[in-house]
Subunit: 432 residues, 4 copies
């Protein structure tokens, strides 16, 4: 590009590293990104973006897997103490932790960029070999850690915000920077989509940093996301003394065990891949008490949304029958969901071309997938309305630490690469 | 007693052996005792008994586990060819194979004696060591054998009939000789009870010969019969090609397997012994076809009728839920049932006392039980109406051949002992 | 081609219809194709082919799912009475019902063509609307019917034999016409491969007539065959009286039910499609007897041979553990198997090109598959040795009768089309 | 008796109420009765008893269901702070919390009396209606409460100690007061028996206060205790990503579910009552992770020790097979056990007679049982050696609060009744 571009992206990269470490140190898990979102909102406002946040950008009814009010309140107070922005904190209270920054420059298409902000429910390593610990930005919030790189995504978002505001003279159209809560557990995107956040978006870009990919490797149009439904199940029976009155119990553990076996035995489907997992089962009170209630943590997946629905419907029939077999009641609560989706080849092609012009980036052969992402809800909405969407993978390896482990870290040089790529593609999209 | 008694019982014993071998040779299984019942009826009529048979003594609606009309017709024709009594055969057509002989002599109590007539669904041994084969009275009816001694019971019934008709001057009251079909599978008694056969009985006597008991050992008042319900289950789903369209099937075998496990897992009951058994499961068509239907052969038991009902109700809930889990339909058909029951101590005491006066008989210590008998329906009805009932065990060992095996046989000297005991107790009951 | 070609193929088509109806009338199921194979062998010999049959072309040890010696003998006698060729019948005795006809003309490549000969284990419809019944060639062998079109395949094979013998002057090389027994249940191909039948084949052609495809539609290179293993399982425990001694049994039905559920719950695999089916379960003796033995009819499949092996190994672990859980023994017997395979694009291309030059043929878009074929064993062997193989689908619809139903029939005009296509491709392959 | 008796028992009763409330306030659960046992030991020493405690009276190897060393240490420190006796605390360190007080007076028989000291793992009610809360002796130790009356048993033990020391002139022989830890979960008695504590006992008396029985009702010889084995199970498999690599997991939850169903399906036994219960199942980590490990909390019971062993052996086979079915390992840890036992009629008769002479006591008809008690280990040992043992039930109802509930309480007037009954029977046994 030009000198201005070099200056602004270098500067943005430098700042992004600082933002990333700050967010990392004060990691917040899904729906409690109070501090993070308030700082993002303040920064966007300072840069001159129109800022929408809280209930404006999240449909209350569609928020899934929300923590209890107590937990929300407690984490909000923590955010206040840890330097959140007081004004914006008020707007995200109660777990409405989404932010959208809008920059308009004449008529033209709308480019949306999505950044997810939440951490993972684990405690970060404090091993001396762990760089964030050694460098002093290890998470100080117990049971919360940026073990999937969303701190980086958010920092990239702020970097892109800086670059685009500087270059706005060069483009015609609108930029929407979408900072999403609760991607872990695929809980947050649907509520933003339902609030209309992407309804006017013509080109939608998402990205994800990957620790296992070499620095700078790019997949410009990821696909093969499995549609998924996450749900919690409670089977409630009745306790009884197992020695004295075994027949008086309604054994929720027998119901749950029957369900687990039959859930995993749901027939394969000819149309493609399906999955089911009962990840957790917690049941019972005492050794000598017929088990009165059982809690199951379940997910279904499918290589298409239809296949996922087939699995979910089958699972419901299994669960209902297993509960009724032991005279138990059944309670199912949705905890998250994502669609299957594929990137638009045309938009992915634009990213690919742009990749080839940037130093430090290289193309990576596509792989098979098997995971889920709730960015797919946004992609689906944009595609349904005739727009294009793509999901970009960006390599940031730093020794192969697995995502969602206590030792996760990534190469911060990827932040600058991501800022340049996303800003550049946005500018290119709005120029013509 | 006296000379007449000696003469008539000796003569009855001699004839009984002949009857037993005749019935043995032409063994007929439950509801097809056409030849047997017609010969019994003819003999009772000849002796001067008032004879009731067919629909008079069996309530159509309560007959359980009936063979198909084709089978009934085929066996009826066989009975005709094998020397059944043509007149009485007409009256038992369609599987109404019960007979009652009544002898009245003035006013007085009514003594009922019950004799079961059916064979077992197995093919008798034709090993040279098997006495019935060697002596030429092995069953010639394939798949039917008197492997439980009911041929003996029927012969004893005819012997008692002869003795009592001779001694009828000595008694005041009424004798009812009840020849019951289909005791195997506990299918026949309820229909006779429902037809009112024992409604006027004051003292009811049943007996059973036991191969495992030493000759002449007597248990005068058996008890501990388990109440039981026998039923057949069909679970119907839908076939599908297991390779090409596995998701289109409704897998009745998964439903049945789930049912089998959970039926056996029905909780124990604090009030006493319970049992359940899925004796047979036959399911499926081809290896590569999702199993469209499954047939289960089931029984529940309980040491009281309430416990058996607890098991049956639990089993129904398991079966319904297992079927609905795979979108299958469920069909349950009753195939037999019996009550729990205990002999009346007073009547058993009378039998015990009588036993002590007869040569060749000795008392046997009571045992635990674990089996079922549909004579319990008759006992229950008589006891409910204020009468007394007892079930008498009579030893007839001949080398310990197990009941319901192809080699079963018993010591025919037990026939005379049984005739003397039953006749004697009857006379004693009507004299005083 | 030319006049000779027209004459000989017209004549071959005419005869093929006659052969098809003859084989159809005397349908023989897998390993009992005594009459069929003896007639095929006689005809090949008459035409001048070198004929190999019996143990020459079938490795005894690799024959799977063989009927009992009694059944083999009985069906052999039937073949004798139904007009089988006495000389060749001697050579296929004992279920060695494979035939290979060889035609050599100088040096050149070897073209193999495979035709399967067996019927299906069902009884054919005798409804007046069923054409084979109306026309008098309905199967007279009870429980055996050509419900999958192999009668047509065999007739095509004889037609191709006639054409090629006439045209042999035009070609350089060798033709092997391979008539295979027991394709149903994928039982026969492995034994022919193991006997070396395709070891010298450079180009291998197989074909299948499809009732659901419009007449003349051709898929020149079918693929996506699922690898499969078919096996029978016997779980043997111990009987006990279910009322009196329930704890003395070793309940094979509980073991089998546990196995069925857990077999169907074997985890999905990330690498592709997997299948498992317990098509039949037959277990137990009497209602009141703890079930002493259970027989399961099982198959696994996978979209690659590795995936099928994963399913099979998992199934074995489930079965062994389920049996040991109830102190039961386990017996597993292989009943059939097939590999995954794909047609060689180059050879398929040659068939495609040839198709376009023939009247009455049209290309059909490829479909997904989901079935299994043991022709894959032959394809794999040829491909491993550097040769090429393809499996050709040929439409022969006559009202959409499903394969493996009692009403199956196909349009006999497909016989001529198949003879022309296969002969033509063979000649083209040997010409140069 | 006499004036001395009246004085000493009145005084002992008064003190016992105080002891009871003190123990109640500082409730300690099994193996952590540090404060309680040290105070008991101190009091016995003060009264002049020979005191044995710690490793002298508990066989280390036989202690079951011990808490972790951390927990033991933490509770020991708590005992120190809550006024435990420093000297005796040293002797019971590490969870050796048993005490035996011995009083010898010449030669004569040995009478043993057993008192259990542990609380229950629940938090006591702080409802104003709950008397211990209102009166200020509610447990201050979180998660520990005397909800089964063992505080009363211990207080009775100290009362008996006082009475017998005063009356020791009146008797010839030896008294052993056995204060046992960890009766809840039937964990402690076996270790005392194994240490030889009852090896010299001729007459053994145990007692239990019952909230559901009217004050003063006595069952002098309880029986029908179910033998039981308590054990914890860990099934360990391997985690895997449920979406991406489902086949790489070894699913411990499928193994556990299979085990749960089949454990409950262990066949009934003809010889009597059996029980099994999986009271708790805790398994898994995350929703999208194949469950790597499962923890089961299990108990078996039987109306005889043989029946319990049948259940336990069957359970082991089920668990081993279920684990191996999924390639999982199995770890089983014993957590408690008790024998079946019956009181000796002769000794019970002595108690019954004594009961009739005491004001405020009345006989209660025996009931069926269904529970378990590890006092049975002591009974068994004494009976095996030719001594006599009995277990005495004593009514102490105070509004029907169930044992093991947060609201449990009992009528403290029962303490005096128990002291009088046990002291009296002891004196009577040693007098003559």
């Amino acid at each position: 590009m030009n000198v201005l571009w070099e200056q602004v992206t270098d500067e943005a990269e430098r700042r992004a590293v600082g933002y990333r470490r700050d967010f990392h140190r004060y990691a917040e898990v899904g729906w409690t990104e109070f501090r993070t979102s308030s700082i993002v909102a303040r920064r966007l406002a300072t840069l001159g973006y129109e800022v929408q946040s809280g209930r404006q950008v999240l449909d209350d009814k569609e928020r899934m897997g929300l923590p209890s009010p107590d937990v929300l309140e407690e984490h909000w107070q923590r955010a206040l103490q840890q330097g959140g922005d007081r004004e914006f904190l008020e707007r995200v209270k109660g777990g409405f932790t989404g932010v959208v920054g809008i920059l308009r420059n004449g008529s033209g298409p709308v480019v949306g960029l999505r950044f997810d902000m939440d951490g993972v429910d684990i405690s970060e390593s404090r091993d001396p070999g762990h760089r964030p610990f050694r460098r002093g930005f290890v998470s100080i919030n117990d049971g919360a850690a940026h073990a999937c790189g969303h701190d980086g995504h958010t920092a990239v978002g702020l970097g892109v915000a800086e670059v685009l505001v500087t270059l706005c003279e060069q483009v015609q159209g609108t930029v929407k920077l979408i900072f999403q809560p609760a991607e872990e557990g695929v809980r947050g995107a649907r509520a933003m989509v339902s609030a209309g956040v992407v309804d006017d978006v013509d080109y939608l870009l998402g990205h994800h940093l990957y620790s296992g990919w070499e620095l700078g490797q790019i997949d410009p149009g990821r696909g093969g996301y499995l549609a998924t439904t996450k749900f919690d199940v409670v089977i409630t029976g009745a306790a009884a003394h197992a020695g004295g009155k075994p027949h008086e119990g309604r054994n929720s553990l027998l119901a749950a065990s029957t369900a687990v076996l039959n859930l995993h035995a749901i027939p394969r489907h000819k149309d493609g891949a399906t999955r089911i997992n009962v990840g957790k089962l917690v049941a019972g009170t005492g050794r000598n008490v017929v088990c009165p209630s059982a809690h199951l943590t379940v997910e279904t997946r499918g290589s298409s949304s239809e296949l996922n629905e087939y699995m979910y419907a089958s699972a419901m029939r299994v669960l209902e029958s297993a509960a009724s077999m032991y005279g138990c009641s059944l309670d199912v609560r949705p905890m998250g969901s994502a669609q299957s989706a594929n990137s638009d080849p045309e938009l992915a092609h634009r990213v690919r071309e742009y990749t080839q012009g940037l130093e430090g980036l290289s193309l990576r052969p596509p792989d098979a997938g098997g995971g889920s992402e709730d960015f797919t809800y946004m992609m689906e909405r944009v595609q349904q309305r005739g727009g294009q969407a793509t999901s970009i993978g960006i390599g940031a390896d730093l020794g192969g630490w697995g995502h969602h482990t206590a030792e996760f870290d990534f190469d911060e040089r990827a932040l600058g690469l991501a800022i340049r790529l996303l800003s550049g593609v946005t500018v290119a999209s709005l120029r013509g």
